[in-house]
Symmetry: C2
Subunit: 155 residues, 2 copies
Amino acid sequence: MSRYLEARRETLPPAVTDLAEQLAEAGYKVTGPRLAVLKAATALRGAFSVHELEQWLIARGESPGIASIFRTVRLLSDLNLLQRIHGLDDCHRYSLGKGHGHHLVCTGCGAMERFEDCGVQSLIQQLEQRTGYRISAHLVELFGLCPRCLAASAA
Amino acid sequence: MSRYLEARRETLPPAVTDLAEQLAEAGYKVTGPRLAVLKAATALRGAFSVHELEQWLIARGESPGIASIFRTVRLLSDLNLLQRIHGLDDCHRYSLGKGHGHHLVCTGCGAMERFEDCGVQSLIQQLEQRTGYRISAHLVELFGLCPRCLAASAA
DNA sequence: TTCATAGTTGAGAGATAATATCAATAAAAT
DNA sequence: ATTTTATTGATATTATCTCTCAACTATGAA
Ligand SMILES: [Mn+2]
Ligand SMILES: [Mn+2]
Ligand SMILES: [Zn+2]
Ligand SMILES: [Zn+2]
């Protein structure tokens, strides 16, 4: 295990140390800037943008250079620990989460539910037959209001 | 009908005059730059980027300023005559087409099939029950190889 | 606990995408 | 044909993201 990570394990949320361990296992160093980004991503929950990560970090006076924030996001994405969320307009949001998945995003507050099974298999088969395409990937994202925002808007 | 459009109706593809008429009906002027963009979008078919529109137009020596290309794309989008396509990486491609729809895009050549019914209704109901969200919009895009690219890759 | 090394960082430059400004222009209504 | 008003395009500007490279630091080995 990483010496650097051991030294601060006590001060970090478990979700952060989990992710940091996966970085170490993949052969990457566990550094201050990387831990900072992991803390921000964990704290923000939901669907966050790089800009929001940066703001969260700046507010706490522990922001790495913007280049390193982008680099860490890219790294997490390459390791499949972070998924990109395509919004209706907004295209560059992310959420922590392993592997293939989909998102139900609140357009009011950014809250988010992740789900694995999107049920497009039969659609895919049907379209392959009709069009002759061989389909190898799909994107399914849903948008709406979370219970809280729904309640707030009813008031 | 637009005087400007009448004067060049003969020289334009029907698909272009159709779209131009819809601009006029919505109260917008039918101008040279706008017709040029419509010609490019119609000619490119499939899923095109703003950059590809510009290249097509430059190659024919009739490119409006880049600002006007963006403006026309935005206008068509606002009028719901153009849909934005979210790719896996590539986020800003467009396709002509009215109203809500989905796309099956060839990752080899950019060819595209549009389809209306994506069959996520039952998924939506299921998730609304489980999460308490009220879902109001969805994104469904499929990717793969078109028959031609499939044949080419089999060689 | 050092030490050497290879991976990482950050400031700043640079690339790319898109928007804002505004005087000049051109389509449309008259 | 003239007037009116939307539109255009050159240019500047902003936003997003990547690159470069000297300085730094986490890690494995000693
Ligand atoms: Mn799926
Ligand atoms: Mn997108
Ligand atoms: Zn909400
Ligand atoms: Zn193809």
